[in-house]
C-alpha cells in the first residue's frame, strides 16, 4: 500500500483525524487522501458507505481507518468484543490485509487485536475466537455463514460496530453474494447499529452495490452513501495485432507468442492473463518452448494443487518471478508491487474485467498502468479495440445484479435453524431486508422452508424424517443436533466440477495396473474421449486408453497435434455493453481505419460481398457450401446465448421439415446447417420471441447444461450432500444420480421449488435466456437477409468454430443409430 502526499486534503485533516493518526501520516511523509477522510466523516455519523476507487488508491486503509480511530482511545483491556468484521472473497487477501494493518497499528502503538479466520485457521483458535474474539476479524463469506449458524452467534456479534466488505463488485453478483447478503441481514438483527463499508473497483453503476450494502425495507429502497475516489491516470493499452496475419478462428493466439515473450523481457514482472485453465496450460507450454533465456515463468490456475499455487504466490511476493501465466484466479488478490505489466491473451469479454486486470499492474494512482491485449482471432481484434476505447473513455459495463437464488436461501434457512428456533414471519422479514431477496414472495419463502423441513413435495412422504419441526408455540426448530454438524460440512455455494485423475499407463501392462499420476482433468472432458483419441494435457499430446475405477489412463504419443481440441470456450460471456460497442464498430466503416490491415480488408470484402449490418439490425446470411446449406446470423450476444438460440432455431427448422443437421456457435455468430436450402424460410417467424416459451421448455428437459445447473442447485440447497460425516461422496456419484433425480422430479412434480431455482439460474447463467430474450425483442422487424452463392467473409470464423456441447434427444438417437450401422457394416464386410 502506498499513499502519496496530496495537498487538497490537508485542510480537512485536523477536524477528522485524531492527533495520533495525523502524526503517523506525517512521519510516513503522507497525507490522507480525500476519500479516506470522507469515510471517517461518514463513519462518525454512523452511516454506511460505498467507496468506489481504482486500485492503488489506499482503499483498504480507508475502510479500516474509522475503526482504528474508534478503537484507539479504548483503555488497555484483556477481554475484548468484536468491533469490526472484514469480509474478503479470497482468504489469501484476508491474510494479506491483516498483515498490512499490523504496520499502522504497531507504529501508532494502538492496543488493537487483529486476527484472521479461514479454512486454514487451526480448530483450536477458531473455537477460541467464538468466545474471546479479537477487535478486528478478517474472514470470508463462508466462514461468516458458519459462525452465524452457532447458537452463541448473538454473543459474538452483539457488539459489532462495523463491517468492511472488500472487492464488493466481485462478490455481490453471485451465489456467494446472495449468501453474504443473507448473513448481513442476520448481522443487522444481532447488531442493529453497526455501519458498513463497501470497497469496490470502478463500476459503471454503483446504485445496485449501494442497495446491496444496507438493509432494505420493501417496497421502499434504501441506498448507502457513496464516495468516489478520484480516478487514476488513464492506462496505456496496446493491442498486439500483426499487419500481416490475424487468424480467422481459435482462442490461443499461438502466432503471437514470440511477441508476448518480448513484452515479458521488457518488463520487470508480467501477469499473463488467459480465460481458461487449459488455455493457461497451453500458453505456459508455448512460452517455455521459446524461453531461451530460462526466465522464471510460472503457472497459476484453479486445478493446480493448493500447495503449488501458494508456492507461486510466495515466489511472486518475493519478486523471484519474471512472469506468471494465470486465469481469473489472480484477477483479485494481493497487491504485488513488482508487477508492472499485464498481458491479456484472448478477448477481454468485458471492460470492467479488463480494468480489473490492468489494475494489477497499478500501484500508484498518478502513474498509468501498462497492458498489452493479444487478440487470438479477427473478431477478438474488434472486441479488444472496443474494450480499449471504452476503458480510455472511462465507460464500463453495467451488469444488472441477479436476484437471490432459492437454493442459497434453502441453505441459509437450515443454517439459521442451527443457530436458533425461528418464527417464519420473523425470518421472512429478515430475508427480504437483504437486497437480492427484497422481492421474494412470501409464498416462495414458505415453500423453501418446507423444502428444508421435508423436501417440499406435494406427496408428503418424509414427515417422520423432518429436519425442521414446529414447536408447540409455532416456532421452527432443528429436529436433531446432528443436522447442524451436517450443515457445517456442506455449507458454501461453490460447486466444483468433478475431476478425474489422469495416469500414465505402465508400459506393456493393462490399464488399471498402476502408473504415474499426471494430474486431474474435468470429468466431462474425459467422458467425451474414446480410446485412442489424443488430447493435450500438461503440455504433452496424450492418447486416451480407458477409464478404470475412476482413473483415466493415457499413454504418450509422438503426435504433434491432438485430435480432440481441448479448448472449451471462454468461461465469461461477452458483456452486453462490450457487444454493443463491437456492433457499432462493425457498422461504421470510418472506424475500420484504426484496425490492422487484415481485419480492415476482411470487413471491406464483407461489405462488398454481402452487407454490413447497422446497429440494432440482425444480419442473416444463407449460402450453400459442400453438400450442406448454411444459415449464419450475427447477434454478438455471447456463446451461451448463441448455443441456446441454436438449439431453438434447429427445433423450429426441424418442424418446418428443413432437416437441420447441426450448428455451431461462437461469441459473435451462430451457424446452422442442413440438407435443404434455408434461404426461403420466414425469418421473422424463425426468430420470433415465442421460441422462449414451449420450445425452450421442451429443449430444457433434455439439455445437459440444464441438468448440470440442476445438480449445482441440488447440492447447494442440500438435496444432495457433498459430504457426510460417514463417507465422502465423490463428485462422480453425484453426477449420475442427479440426472436421474432430475428426470423423475420433472415428470412427477414440475413445479417443485428446486426446478424453479434451476430455471432461475439457467435463465441468467448457463443459458443466458434473459439476454436472448432482449436480443430477440431488439431485432424484431429489423432482420436483414442476404442469399449468397458462397460463404461470406464474416461467416468464416463461425464455420471454423468447434462446438462441443453434449447432445441429447434426437441427436443422441442419431448417434446410436450411426454406431450400430457402423458396427453392422463392419461385421458384414467380406474381405
Amino acid at each position: 500500500m502506498c499513499y502519496r502526499f496530496t495537498m487538497t486534503a490537508a485542510a480537512l485533516t485536523p477536524f477528522l483525524l485524531p492527533e495520533r493518526f495525523a502524526r503517523w501520516f506525517a512521519t510516513r511523509g503522507w497525507s490522507p487522501r480525500p476519500h479516506q477522510l470522507q469515510l471517517i466523516e461518514h463513519a462518525s455519523r454512523g452511516e454506511s458507505v460505498l467507496l468506489v476507487a481504482p486500485t492503488g488508491g489506499g482503499k483498504t486503509l480507508a475502510g479500516f481507518l474509522p475503526s482504528l480511530i474508534e478503537l484507539a482511545p479504548l483503555p488497555a483491556r484483556c477481554s475484548r468484543v468484536l468491533h469490526t468484521l472484514y469480509i474478503s472473497p479470497l482468504k489469501a487477501l484476508a491474510v494479506d490485509v491483516a498483515r498490512n494493518l499490523e504496520a499502522p497499528v504497531s507504529e501508532m502503538g494502538l492496543d488493537v487485536k487483529i486476527e484472521t479466520r479461514t479454512g486454514d485457521t487451526p480448530a483450536g483458535r477458531r473455537q477460541r475466537q467464538r468466545f474471546s474474539p479479537p477487535d478486528i476479524l478478517l474472514t470470508t463469506p463462508e466462514q461468516l455463514a458458519l459462525l452465524l449458524s452457532h447458537r452463541d452467534a448473538p454473543r459474538m456479534f452483539g457488539h459489532l460496530r462495523a463491517v468492511v466488505l472488500d472487492e464488493l463488485h466481485a462478490i455481490a453478483n453471485s451465489k456467494r453474494g446472495d449468501l453474504l447478503a443473507l448473513d448481513l441481514a442476520r448481522l443487522a438483527k444481532l447488531a442493529p447499529n453497526h455501519r458498513r463499508v463497501g470497497l469496490s473497483a470502478t463500476v459503471a453503476d454503483p446504485v445496485p452495490l449501494q442497495r446491496y450494502l444496507v438493509p432494505q425495507s420493501p417496497p421502499g429502497e434504501n441506498l448507502s452513501e457513496l464516495v468516489r475516489a478520484k480516478g487514476g491516470a488513464v492506462p496505456q493499452i496496446g493491442i498486439l495485432a500483426s499487419e500481416e496475419y490475424v487468424p480467422w478462428a481459435g482462442h490461443l493466439a499461438r502466432h503471437a507468442m514470440s511477441d508476448v515473450m518480448a513484452a515479458i523481457k521488457l518488463a520487470k514482472t508480467t501477469l499473463v492473463f488467459v480465460n481458461t485453465r487449459r488455455q493457461a496450460e497451453l500458453t505456459f507450454q508455448d512460452l517455455w518452448r521459446i524461453n531461451d533465456d530460462n526466465l522464471a515463468i510460472a503457472l497459476h490456475h484453479g486445478s493446480l494443487a493448493p500447495e503449488q499455487r501458494r508456492k507461486v504466490e510466495a515466489a511472486m511476493a518475493a519478486g523471484r518471478l519474471k512472469a506468471v501465466v494465470c486465469t481469473s484466479t489472480l484477477d483479485l488478490g494481493i497487491d504485488w508491487g513488482a508487477v508492472d505489466n499485464v498481458v491479456c491473451i484472448g478477448a477481454p469479454k468485458g471492460a470492467a474485467r479488463l480494468v480489473q486486470r490492468i489494475g494489477r499492474a497499478n500501484h500508484r494512482l498518478e502513474e498509468p498502468s501498462c497492458a498489452l491485449l493479444v487478440p487470438a482471432n479477427r473478431f477478438e481484434v474488434l472486441e479488444c479495440e472496443a474494450a480499449r476505447e471504452a476503458v480510455i473513455a472511462g465507460e464500463l459495463d453495467g451488469e444488472r445484479l441477479k436476484t437471490g437464488s432459492l437454493d442459497v436461501l434453502a441453505q441459509h434457512v437450515l443454517g439459521m435453524a442451527c443457530a436458533a428456533n425461528f418464527a417464519e414471519d420473523d425470518l421472512y422479514a429478515e430475508v427480504i431486508s437483504a437486497a437480492p431477496y427484497r422481492d421474494l414472495p412470501r409464498e416462495d419463502f414458505t415453500r423453501v422452508v418446507d423444502f428444508v423441513a421435508t423436501g417440499g413435495y406435494a406427496l408428503k412422504r418424509y414427515d417422520r424424517y423432518a429436519k425442521l419441526r414446529k414447536t408447540p408455540d409455532g416456532l421452527w426448530r432443528l429436529a436433531h443436533p446432528r443436522l447442524a454438524q451436517n450443515y457445517r460440512l456442506n455449507a458454501g455455494t461453490i460447486v466444483e466440477d468433478p475431476m478425474i485423475d489422469i495416469r500414465l499407463q505402465s508400459k506393456g501392462r493393462p490399464i488399471g495396473a498402476g502408473g504415474r499420476t499426471l494430474g486431474q482433468m474435468e470429468e466431462y472432458f474425459v467422458e467425451q474421449l474414446a480410446p485412442g483419441d489424443t488430447f493435450v494435457f500438461a503440455g504433452e499430446v496424450l492418447a486416451f486408453q480407458g477409464i478404470h475405477e475412476d482413473v483415466a489412463y493415457v499413454s504418450r504419443t509422438n503426435d504433434t497435434e491432438a485430435e480432440v481440441p481441448s479448448y472449451n470456450g471462454g468461461k465469461f460471456p461477452l458483456s452486453t455493453f462490450l457487444a454493443q460497442r463491437v456492433r457499432e464498430m462493425v457498422s461504421d466503416p470510418e472506424r475500420w481505419q484504426a484496425l490492422p490491415d487484415p481485419v480492415h480488408e476482411w470487413l471491406r470484402i464483407q461489405e462488398w460481398r454481402s452487407v454490413i449490418p447497422q446497429p440494432g439490425q440482425l444480419l442473416v446470411e444463407t449460402f450453400p457450401r459442400g453438400h450442406r446449406f448454411y444459415l449464419v446470423c450475427y447477434p454478438f450476444e455471447g456463446r451461451l446465448a448463441h448455443q441456446t438460440l441454436g438449439m431453438l432455431v434447429t427445433r423450429r427448422l426441424e418442424r418446418l421439415h428443413l432437416q437441420p443437421t447441426g450448428f455451431s456457435a461462437n461469441e459473435y455468430a451462430l451457424a446452422v446447417w442442413g440438407r435443404r436450402d434455408l434461404s426461403g424460410v420466414n425469418l421473422g417467424a424463425l426468430f420470433d420471441q415465442d421460441m422462449l416459451g414451449d420450445d425452450l421448455d421442451a429443449w430444457l428437459a433434455e439439455s445437459n447444461l440444464y441438468k448440470r445447473t440442476f445438480k449445482n442447485c441440488a447440492v447447494i440447497a442440500g438435496l444432495i450432500e457433498r459430504r457426510s460425516p460417514l463417507k465422502e461422496k465423490t463428485g462422480r456419484q453425484v453426477t449420475f444420480s442427479t440426472d436421474l433425480i432430475y428426470d423423475v422430479l420433472r415428470e412427477h412434480e414440475p413445479d417443485h421449488i428446486l426446478l424453479r431455482a434451476t430455471y432461475q439460474d439457467a435463465a441468467t447463467g448457463l443459458l443466458d435466456v434473459a439476454r436472448l430474450g432482449d436480443m430477440l425483442a431488439r431485432v424484431k422487424g429489423r432482420i436483414i437477409s442476404r442469399k449468397l452463392d458462397r460463404v461470406s467473409p464474416l461467416a468464416v470464423p463461425a464455420l471454423l468454430e468447434i462446438s462441443k456441447e453434449m447432445i441429447a434427444g434426437e441427436a443422441a438417437e442419431e448417434m446410436l443409430r450411426e454406431t450400430e450401422d457402423a458396427l453392422i457394416a463392419d461385421a458384414m464386410r467380406v474381405e
Partner: protein
C-alpha cells in the same frame, strides 16, 4: 413403436430386448426385468436427503405399460426389486395398490437379491432364489464362472459411446450368446461401465453390448455371432472387423 426390432439368441432361446431395459421371451410369454430398487429414494431420507419420492411410482408405471403392451403370463423380477429391508414398509398407498393389481394379474416371481434377500411376501407373487425355464436360468447375481443359459441382473451395466468428440452414456444389455446381463430398470439406479472388470470377468469370449435408445435398443459393440439377429448377418466374423470391448 419399433419394439421387437432387437432379438437375441441366448443359449438357443430367442429373447427380445426392449428399450425400457426389460427382456421379452415370447415363447414362454415371460417378461423379465432386473434391479428395480423400489424406495431407493426414501432410503436416503433418514440421513436428511429428501430425494423426490416418486421413483417407485415411476418404475411401476413403466412396468404397467410393458404388461399392457406384451400381455405376459409370467413376470420375473430379477432381484434387488426392493432397495432395502424396510422398503416394503415405506411404500405409499398408490404404490401398494398398483403392485397388488399387477401381481394378481400375472404369475409374478420375485427372485431374491442381495438388497432384498427376503422380499415382502405380503405384496403378492412368489419368492424364489432362482428359477429355471427351458434353456434359461434366472438368478440375481451371475455366477463367477461362465454359465450357459444364465440371465442375471445385479451388475447394472452401462456403456459409453464416443463419436466425433461427443459422448453418450446409456444403460445396456450385455451378452456373449450364452449368458445375458440385464440393465437396471429402477428409476434411481446408476450403473457400471461394461469395460470394468466386474463385467469383463464374466465372459470368456467377446461379448456384445446393446444400448437402450429412446424407442429401441441399438447394438453398439460385439462379435457377429452374437449379433446374428438379422438373418443376413454372417455368423463367421473376421476378427479384425469387430470392435472388441472386453480387451480395450
Amino acid at each position: 413403436m419399433t419394439r421387437g426390432d432387437c432379438t437375441l439368441l441366448v443359449n438357443g432361446e430367442t429373447l427380445m430386448l426392449d428399450a425400457s431395459g426389460a427382456a421379452w421371451w415370447a415363447a414362454e410369454k415371460t417378461l423379465v426385468f432386473a434391479d428395480l430398487h423400489f424406495e431407493k429414494g426414501s432410503s436416503y431420507a433418514r440421513s436428511g436427503q429428501f430425494l423426490p419420492p416418486y421413483d417407485t411410482r415411476a418404475t411401476l408405471r413403466r412396468i404397467a405399460a410393458l404388461i399392457a403392451h406384451f400381455h405376459p403370463e409370467r413376470v420375473i423380477a430379477l432381484g434387488d426389486s426392493f432397495h432395502d429391508g424396510g422398503a416394503g414398509a415405506r411404500l405409499g398407498e398408490e404404490e401398494i395398490a398398483l403392485l397388488a393389481a399387477l401381481t394378481r394379474a400375472v404369475v409374478w416371481v420375485w427372485v431374491e437379491g442381495n438388497h432384498d434377500p427376503d422380499p415382502p411376501a405380503w405384496l403378492g407373487g412368489t419368492i424364489k432364489s432362482d428359477i429355471a425355464v427351458g434353456g434359461l436360468t434366472f438368478r440375481h447375481i451371475p455366477l463367477a464362472e461362465p454359465c450357459a443359459g444364465e440371465v442375471a441382473g445385479h451388475i447394472h451395466p452401462v456403456t459409453r459411446i464416443s463419436r466425433g468428440g461427443l459422448s453418450l452414456r446409456r444403460r445396456c444389455f450385455v451378452s456373449d450368446g450364452l449368458r445375458l446381463l440385464l440393465p437396471a430398470f429402477g428409476a434411481y439406479t446408476g450403473g457400471y461401465d461394461v469395460r470394468e472388470e466386474s463385467v469383463t470377468s464374466l465372459f470368456a469370449r467377446e461379448f456384445a453390448v446393446f444400448a437402450l435408445g429412446r424407442e429401441r435398443v441399438y447394438a453398439v459393440a460385439g462379435p457377429a455371432h452374437v449379433l446374428a439377429r438379422k438373418k443376413n448377418v454372417e455368423a463367421q466374423p473376421k476378427a479384425t472387423a469387430i470392435k472388441t470391448v472386453n480387451r480395450p
